[in-house]
């Protein structure tokens, strides 16, 4: 199993009446709710938490890209990853990911990921989301119906730039480059492992299988509701006669650990409500620009903006019983995770252990309990696939250590 401690980096200071007074947490969120001085603290706290997760032995620390979003303060996850590269030592730095259709030219992603791959000494996992409609279309102006074509072209360019170790010309529809020649280029061979966050677009299943990428379902509605979608994915894997390695799949789950189930509710319920009530308050008109989803996906009925669960009416019990969140004592959490891991057949878990406006101390408490009292019991869920290293990074053995901060006397050799 691979456990990645994932931080969305939500803005923790949305007012109590946010939902009543604002139409959306995303795209046109009110600028007056943002405070850069407070954000200075927030960024540092969140980086502290990611670094703490590395010290506790999580396999990865994960970050992602959102734009104009009150629950995601990372327009550029690569900047956070660069900071983590120096201040973590063992965990993979998982950038899940860069919305490659948005970069012009897309070799910018190839270059920055190559830099991160090298800076981390190969402790790097890449992600290539198509990007939500909010980010990709409404914030970054990509034409909805052309988004996937642009994504496919960007993908081809990046992979070629990483793997063809000589200059080449790229005559794409959206990007034309006469001299593609990354310098520096990636450290891992042939390139860092790639995870594809998907939200139910069935074309994405085949894309992952064609390229040996891991399919990640980054849902906030929990493992019980994810069953139908993940079953669809595994059915496709099986139809194609591909191996059924659980590392072909990942899942994001909100989780809270305390000494007891009661303590979990007492400590964390306000933060769960903050996240599900305020952070996910997205104006439905931003959810799916027409043309963003393929006709095939709409016809499958997988997702649409009119049929979302009504989060604000969910009580703690609803959230727990519905599997939106996994919360409770280490034993409760362990049992639920066994159900999740076996039920969805996943080898990669993205743990949302920081949720909403959770303060650092509570988050560290929950994070430590998970690392020490839950994770060890879940390590061996897929022993028959232990040797499958296709979907995780391969760091070099001798990695440089950042020098301690300070100014030691340096005397040149005579």
């Amino acid at each position: 199993m691979k456990f990645t401690w994932f931080n969305l980096m939500p803005w923790p200071h949305l007012p109590d009446d946010f939902r009543e007074k604002n139409r959306s947490v995303w795209v046109d969120i009110d600028q007056s709710l943002f405070d850069p001085v407070r954000c200075h603290e927030v960024y540092n706290d969140y980086l502290d938490l990611l670094e703490y997760a590395d010290q506790l032995g999580y396999d990865g620390v994960g970050i992602n890209e959102h734009h104009q979003n009150g629950y995601g303060l990372m327009p550029s996850p690569n900047i956070m990853a660069a900071s983590l590269a120096r201040r973590t030592s063992n965990a993979a730095v998982v950038v899940l990911g860069n919305s490659i259709a948005l970069y012009n030219p897309p070799i910018r992603v190839a270059e920055e990921f190559a830099m991160l791959d090298i800076m981390t000494g190969g402790r790097f996992v890449a992600g290539f989301p198509v990007g939500t409609s909010m980010d990709t279309n409404f914030c970054y102006g990509t034409i909805p119906a052309l988004t996937r074509e642009k994504y496919a072209e960007a993908h081809e360019l990046i992979i070629r730039a990483w793997t063809e170790k000589k200059p080449f010309a790229f005559n794409g529809r959206y990007t034309k480059l006469r001299h593609v020649n990354l310098w520096p280029n990636v450290l891992q061979t042939p390139h860092p492992p790639i995870h594809i966050p998907g939200g139910g677009s069935i074309e994405t299943y085949d894309f992952c299988l064609d390229n040996t990428y891991s399919y990640s379902y980054l849902s906030f509605s929990g493992y019980l509701r994810a069953k139908a979608l993940m079953d669809g994915y595994w059915q496709r894997v099986s139809e194609r006669g591909t191996d059924m390695s659980p590392y072909r799949a990942g899942f994001a789950q909100t989780v809270f650990v305390a000494e007891t189930d009661e303590e979990a509710e007492r400590l964390y319920s306000e933060h769960a409500f903050y996240f599900y009530n305020r952070c996910l308050h997205v104006y439905p008109g931003f959810a799916d620009a027409p043309g963003y989803r393929t006709i095939k996906t709409i016809q499958s009925g997988a997702l649409n903006q009119y049929m979302r669960p009504n989060y604000p009416n969910l009580t703690w019990k609803d959230l727990v019983d519905g599997g939106y969140i996994i919360a409770g004592s280490p034993e409760t959490v362990r049992q639920r995770f066994e159900e999740l891991i076996k039920g969805l057949r996943v080898g990669n878990i993205f743990l949302l252990l920081h949720v909403g406006n959770m303060p650092k101390d509570k988050c560290m408490y929950s994070t430590k309990l998970f690392a020490e009292k839950v994770m060890p019991h879940l390590r061996n869920m897929w022993p028959e696939y232990d040797s499958d290293n296709r979907f995780w990074c391969k760091p070099i053995a001798r990695r440089a250590t950042p020098a301690p901060v300070g100014r030691p006397e340096m005397v040149p050799a005579k």
Partner: protein, 259 residues
Amino acid sequence: MITAHTIETRAAAINVLSGGAGPDLLFLHAAGGITAENPFLRALAAKYRVFAPQLPGYGDSGDSDNVRDMLDVTLHSFDVLEALGLDKPILVGHSLGGMIAAEMAALRPKEVEKLCLIAAAGLWLDAYPVPDIFTLLPREFPAYMFHDAEAGAKMMATGGNMNDPAFLIPFLVTNARQLGMAGKFLFPIPERGLSERIHRIRAKTVLVWGDSDRMFPAPYAQAFKALIKGAELVSVPDAGHQVVLEQPDAVMSAIARLG
């Protein structure tokens, strides 16, 4: 009576609604599409031999991956004209259709002699940002589309229950096909450089605008008038962006001014 037939272009199999007798008229529909039941189309057929091709992705026309931008759709529209065997018909376009018609007239000025642009898209004025139709929920449309939003809501009524997948999924598929295609020319800003080419238009031009158009308010009509040499502007009271539905007679007499 309006009938439908199919023609083939490079882009797709195109469904063409046609009917009536009189001078030839090619009508290019707005982003909302057009059906045979459209009352304005019927009004046109009472006086003209009208052809209303559905854009790729609309109605019974096929989908097209190779119509991506303004030039593609403009040339596609000439392909339609050619396939229909029409020679210099009166060219009428509403909203998105007006944007395409203006491009056609600018691209081949000698082939478009009579042009009517109704509440046309294609220009952008910073002082009057056009509402983002791609974020509007179905219930929000009438206020932007009609002078009389309440009456408009009845005209636009989908007649279905959005919570019922049997209605919702086909509704979303139609929406994705149509507005997915329209988005190639209108998203995120409905402007693709027409102002750089519009000076080439030589056609006799009539502009028709609803006085309470909340999509492209009056300054857009003035901008078109200023940019097209000799263009005449007909402003229609008690009409919004859907002036063709709210005041069809006024639009018909405006078109009649083209002779």
